[in-house]
């Protein structure tokens, strides 16, 4: 099975190579990229069953002897949690690919950078040691920045500079922590053994603060939220939007991997501050979401609120809730990606038909049905496993900190109402001035999203129904 992990890492690189040498102004590269993602999904589905069946047994790791004399072996492994996240990331990217317009599909640079990002996030989610974790964490900075700069339609240079600097600072902070841990362990250390490394008190403080700041810099929490908002709202390319929306996942995953590994008491004292910042940012994001007039900015607010919810769950709750977070994140990422693509399609249809965006869904019955389903899943109605898992997570949060729970619930309620209202506006035929012909999505596209609907709906009964035991 360990060889499959290696294959998982090699496939995106091979895909990159084929895309690089593909013909210009042709869709060959696009199909190669689709095939690459599909191949990785197949490998993940092959890797998942043993981890689910033998969840009590630690998964087998693949070790690459990178720099033996310096004691640096790169270790890769995958448990149910990371595989589920990988699956959702791949599905999100696949949805983003499907959402590309015909002209966008011919951009080799877009596909290359996306596959390179995919390779990095695969390495990041399967990394089991400090070094590989850092390498792939920092490796994401370049493709992210290039994607945003080249295809993100963000015109303010200062915003892009700060965005790049944030990525670089985050990477440098994690590098500082990695070097200090390496210094005291006299070699690389597996993530599961970090707690065993004996580090003096002040050095430990530096390590944990660096790690926390590195991960927080990728989550839309105050004061980092502004840059994410500007980048997200300026992006009109579905694939780039989805990739940018995956940045907080990397920060969140970092917390998941580190926080559970006995964080020192000195750092735990900062927990109320993180909680307060998290809740306040959630409330602000929800309120700002209400003020937006379009669906996509509202979707950004929605994802910010949910990412912060998962962050608070990670830092406040025990490790036993890890699977609930994973199941909920799995659905959340897919729903987010799908809604992005569907909204951008509807916006595009509006632009082509020169009709009003308000009420557009009334003219696109296929898209409307799919859109409605995904919005209902997003707001947490009992039609996917997100309902159960969010229920468990929020009730646990209430149990631990009632005041924070109230704040979190208020923010979720506000943002869900806001999203629902936007759905109502988009479906409301009365707002359209005169009847126009708007092209609906094709049957093939509709079938693709119906398949995802089935995947989500069946997860309501068993979150891992697609895993063959």
């Amino acid at each position: 099975m360990t060889e499959l992990l290696l294959i998982l890492l090699i496939i995106p690189l091979l895909g990159n190579m084929f895309v690089l040498f593909a013909k210009k102004n042709d869709t060959n590269a696009f199909y190669v990229a689709i095939f690459t993602i599909a191949a990785n999904i197949a490998v993940v589905l092959r890797l998942l069953p043993p981890t689910v069946v033998n969840s009590a047994i630690p998964p087998e790791n693949y070790t690459y002897h990178w720099l033996s004399n310096a004691g640096i072996d790169l270790v890769f492994g995958a448990d149910t949690f990371s595989l589920l996240l990988l699956l959702s990331v791949y599905l999100s990217l696949l949805i983003g690919m499907i959402g590309l317009l015909a002209s966008q599909r011919k951009s080799k640079a877009l596909l290359l950078l996306t596959l390179y990002f995919m390779w990095n996030i695969t390495g990041f989610l399967t990394a089991r040691d400090m070094f590989s974790f850092y390498i792939f964490f920092a490796g994401m900075v370049l493709p992210l920045f290039m994607l945003v700069e080249m295809f993100g339609s963000v015109h303010k240079t200062s915003v892009l500079y700060v965005f790049f600097s944030l990525g670089l600072v985050g990477a440098l902070l994690l590098l500082t922590a990695t070097l200090i841990i390496y210094r005291f362990n006299h070699g690389n250390v597996e993530l599961s053994e970090i707690a065993l490394v004996s580090i003096p008190k002040y050095a430990a403080m530096v390590v944990w603060i660096s790690i926390c700041l590195a991960f927080l810099s990728r989550i839309p929490i105050w004061p980092f939220h502004h840059w994410f908002a500007v980048i997200n709202t300026g992006t009109k390319n579905p694939l780039v939007y989805i990739v940018v929306n995956l940045i907080p996942l990397t920060g969140l995953y970092g917390f998941m991997r580190f926080w559970q590994l006995t964080v020192p008491e000195s750092v735990v004292t900062f927990l109320p501050i993180i909680t307060a910042f998290g809740v306040i940012t959630m409330l602000f994001a929800a309120l700002i979401g209400i003020s937006f007039k379009d669906f996509l900015p509202k979707l950004f607010s929605y994802s910010a609120v949910y990412y912060l919810l998962f962050l608070l769950c990670t830092v406040l709750l025990d490790a036993q809730y890890e699977k609930n977070i994973a199941f909920s994140l799995f659905i959340f990422l897919i729903v987010n990606a799908t809604l992005t693509v569907l909204d951008l399609w509807s916006e595009n249809a509006c632009a082509e038909s020169r009709c009003d965006y308000r009420g557009i869904l009334a003219y696109m019955p296929r898209l409307s049905k799919i859109f409605t389903f995904f919005v209902l899943v997003a707001v947490g109605l009992p039609i996917s496993s997100m309902f159960w898992n969010n229920f468990v997570l929020i009730s646990a949060l209430f149990k631990i900190n009632f005041v924070a729970g109230i704040g979190i619930m208020s923010a979720i309620t506000l943002i869900c109402m806001s999203v629902m209202y936007e759905l109502f506006i988009m479906r409301n035929l009365k707002t359209i001035g005169s009847a126009v012909a708007v092209e609906d999505i094709s049957e093939r596209q509709s079938a693709f999203f119906m398949a995802i609907i089935v995947l989500l709906f069946l997860s309501f009964f068993d979150p891992l129904w697609f895993v063959l035991s």
């Binding site: 990178w66 720099l67 033996s68 004399n69 310096a70 640079a109 850092y134 390498i135 792939f136 920092a138 490796g139 900075v141 370049l142 290039m146 700069e149 080249m150 240079t157 892009l160 500079y161 790049f164 600097s165 670089l168 600072v169 990477a171 440098l172 590098l175 500082t176 070097l179 200090i180 390496y182 210094r183």
Partner: protein, 472 residues
Amino acid sequence: MIESLIYFSPYLIMLIAILILMFGEHEEDEHYRCFRFSRIMLLTSLVLAVIFYNKPPILGFSIGNRYTLIFECMLYSGSLILLYLSRKWFAAMHRPAYLFCGSLFITLLFGNLLVASIDLRLSSACAIMLMFNNYLMLRYSDVQKESNTRTRIYFALILGGTFLLLGATLYIWQMCGMTDYEKIRLYLEFEKDDTHTYITIIMLILPFLFLLGLAPLHFGQTETLSKTFLPVFTYFMLLPTIAVWGGFIHLNISVLPPIAAYLQTFYVSIALLSVGVGAIGACGGQNVYKIFSYFAVYGSGIILLTLRRFTPNALNSGFVYMFVYLLAILGICSCLFGLKKKGEYLFMLTEFEGAAQKRPYITAMMLVFMFSLLGMPPLSGFLGLFSALNYQALHHHFYQLIYLLIMMLVVGYAFLQIMRTLYFIEHKTAFDRADSGIYTAIFLNAILMLIIVLKPQFLAENIYQMLESMFQ
């Protein structure tokens, strides 16, 4: 005698090449013949240098071991690549290449001798020759006499360096009676607390620091290089750097250990200053050569900071950084060779606007090399940066570690400006078609980088064992 001559043959070949190229009668348009001749002489010299790498001391002046072999191979490879990249430009611009190729051989000859030298007189002579050869290169590249003032300042600095070197060598000769490294080391063992000796050693070191372009002696190089043409710029970035580092490390390991503790503070100050000046200077430039010249100051600062103790571990870390740094610089220069307009190489940042739209592969590789220079994983530069930073962490130099990380952020800003120009501004310049040789050079460089990323043992273990021969 014959045996000595055979061992001396690589140097003799270079000497013959210099004489033919500099003093022979040539037609002005014989570019290809000139380059072919240089290539053949260079390859012959390289083969002989590799065969006789472990030569016994020649006339008591120089030695050969695996350490010298590494630096010699780097010098030869750098020269070959430089010849390969520049030949078409000389032909296209109808510029005589004899002086350029001759200067290259002078650097090779005196650079190799400097690395292998075990006598202070020879080392000083080589360093002086390298300085004057650098000046010759700058004069040669300054056809329009645009930077007369700058080159004059450079010349004044060279004269200063020459006097310092001569003064220090004569003083040591007088006090010690001998100039071979071993005897000077013994002398220093007894006189290590003497202020005069310390000042003499500083006088000896300063010209080397000037040749390496370290702050505060950097300005001669950074300012003058901004007006040169690309082959000369590439020459400055690679060859003197390799030769002088080789000689400087040799000097420090063989001669200066008795006063290493005193020198460490001096080296750290110079290194930290260079890192700061290099990083900040790189941000202020609109001239690409100037930006990378300042980056060279920054890079040299990191190397010196890592090497400061000149222990085996320091040498290993410093060498790994130096190697990946030179590889990335070579990659960037190769990319710059591929971006021409009407046969002329570009150097102002504004001239590169939107290059990615016209030359996507070259600019993409340039980006990769720049990120490698910055030390971003998973590129090979990370290995170098890790070696350098890890060395600071291992010796509890946490403040210096943080300083380096902050300066890395500053350099990141400078690279961001280049990146922005290449990718995010509408293209205005019509670039010439890059020849396949440029693509081949870039491809080979990328392959070497990939090998280093996947199998760093080659650099961190195998080469380390070779470098260790200096300590035996």
